[in-house]
């Protein structure tokens, strides 16, 4: 590339970082950034040069609800990454068969008790009043992961969500695990403290909450299901 072009690109980079490169020019520049390593380097250098200005602003503590909303959003994000579950009714027998297979695997896991790398340490089946399973849960403490599979379709009424809670055995306050998927599977990343609570809980509960989950961090709606935590 010609030196003059490089100079021009560096001028764009500095105005991009400063924020004065706007509109279509900004979009075009972002397009160039995808492919031009030198340009990215130049943007990073300007970011580093100017950032002390941003650091002169006194910090402002954001409201607590932001972190709560983020945890919900990121807990659910794993579900969005799963391939979309088909709703084709002809696949129902396949889903039923899958569940039967899961039940067998679970049974074997309970009998074998052999340490296997991908064996869940805790399993729960959340079932409705007719003992029909609604969600199947497996926890892998090594991976800090809770996998949830909606067995059928579990849409909450209205624009509400189902939220999953641990009920600690010492009767302390329920701790949220996240929002349950209406269909398909979800993966929750569990923190060390969530895992500690899970180890000390023999019961899970599902409550009906406003869309996005409980605004208070404690269950606000009715508890619609409970299920034991089975240690494998």
């Amino acid at each position: 590339m010609k030196y003059a072009d490089r100079m021009m690109l560096d001028r764009l980079a500095r105005e991009y970082v400063l924020g004065t490169l706007r509109g279509a020019a900004r979009r075009r520049f972002e397009g160039l950034l995808q492919f031009d390593l030198t340009l990215r380097q130049s943007v990073r250098e300007w970011e580093e040069r100017l950032v002390p200005l941003a650091l002169t602003l006194p910090p402002v503590t954001p409201p607590d609800r932001i972190l709560r909303a983020l945890n919900q959003r990121l807990g659910i994000a794993a579900r969005d990454a799963e391939p979309p579950q088909t709703r084709n009714p002809r696949l129902w027998p396949a889903i039923a068969a899958t569940f039967a297979l899961l039940a067998i695997v679970l049974g074997m896991a309970l009998i074998q008790r052999e340490p296997q790398p991908l064996e869940p340490a805790y399993v729960s089946i959340i079932a409705d009043a007719e003992a029909q399973p609604v969600w199947f849960l497996q926890t892998y403490p090594e991976q800090h992961e809770l996998r949830v599979r909606a067995v059928g379709e579990a849409d909450a009424p209205g624009s509400q969500d189902y939220e999953l809670w641990m009920l600690p055995d010492d009767k302390s306050a329920p701790v949220s695990l996240g929002l349950l998927p209406a269909r398909g599977t979800a993966r929750f990343v569990l923190s060390e403290s969530q895992l500690a609570v899970l180890r000390a809980s023999s019961t899970l509960a599902v409550s009906l909450e406003p869309a996005g989950g409980s605004p208070t961090g404690a269950p606000t709606g009715p508890v619609v299901y409970t299920a034991p935590v089975v240690r494998t």
Binding site: R14, R44, V51, A54
Partner: protein, 181 residues
């Protein structure tokens, strides 16, 4: 330490994310409030920025930028985009009329870490900013901290657009040369 937290975020560790958030969100929020000048928008941008930080944690390279630089940049670019979308909804006259920065926004500011603040005011950049004459320095601050466009800055400092553009261009060049000395 934040670099290590980012590495753990890349592995999907939500507890590292919480620690990272707690150590950096107040500074990012301050930057966003200043650019967006509206609490609700700043909260939205803060959420978006941290979702982006989580998703892109794997592409963060410690040898290339400081963690705070990387995160503040993500937040600032999000705010600039949001502000642009906002401008299209609100006619310019109304937008400038609503310019009274909520004093409430400033009042709720957490105690600034005085030492950190002094350190930044003593940064090489601050020294170089002081070497600029008043108008270019003011233009650069309005652009970087308030997220204003060339036109908005021209209105605010009551100077022709072409003059503002050249103040900014020359101001940036002077900063670069000063920082390289």
């Amino acid at each position: 330490m934040q670099a290590r937290l980012l590495a753990r975020c890349a592995e999907g560790d939500l507890s590292a994310f919480t620690a990272l958030y707690e150590s950096s969100a107040p500074q990012l929020f301050a930057v966003l409030l200043r650019i967006l000048n509206r609490r609700d928008l700043a909260e939205e941008a803060l959420q978006d920025a941290f979702v982006s930080i989580w998703r892109h944690a794997a592409s963060y390279r410690a040898q290339r930028s400081q963690p705070m630089t990387w995160m503040i940049s993500i937040a600032r670019y999000r705010a600039i985009d949001l502000k642009r979308a906002q401008r299209r909804e609100v006619p310019l006259a109304a937008a400038t009329a609503g310019e009274s920065i909520d004093s409430e926004i400033i009042d709720t500011a957490a105690d600034p870490s005085a030492e950190a603040l002094r350190a930044q005011e003593n940064s090489a950049l601050a020294d170089c900013m002081r070497e600029l004459s008043d108008s270019p320095r003011e233009c650069l601050r309005l652009a970087y901290l308030e997220g204003l466009t060339h036109q908005e800055i021209a209105l605010k400092v009551n100077s022709p657009l072409g003059t503002v553009k050249s103040w900014i261009r020359r101001g940036l060049q002077a900063l670069k040369e000063c920082l390289e000395r």
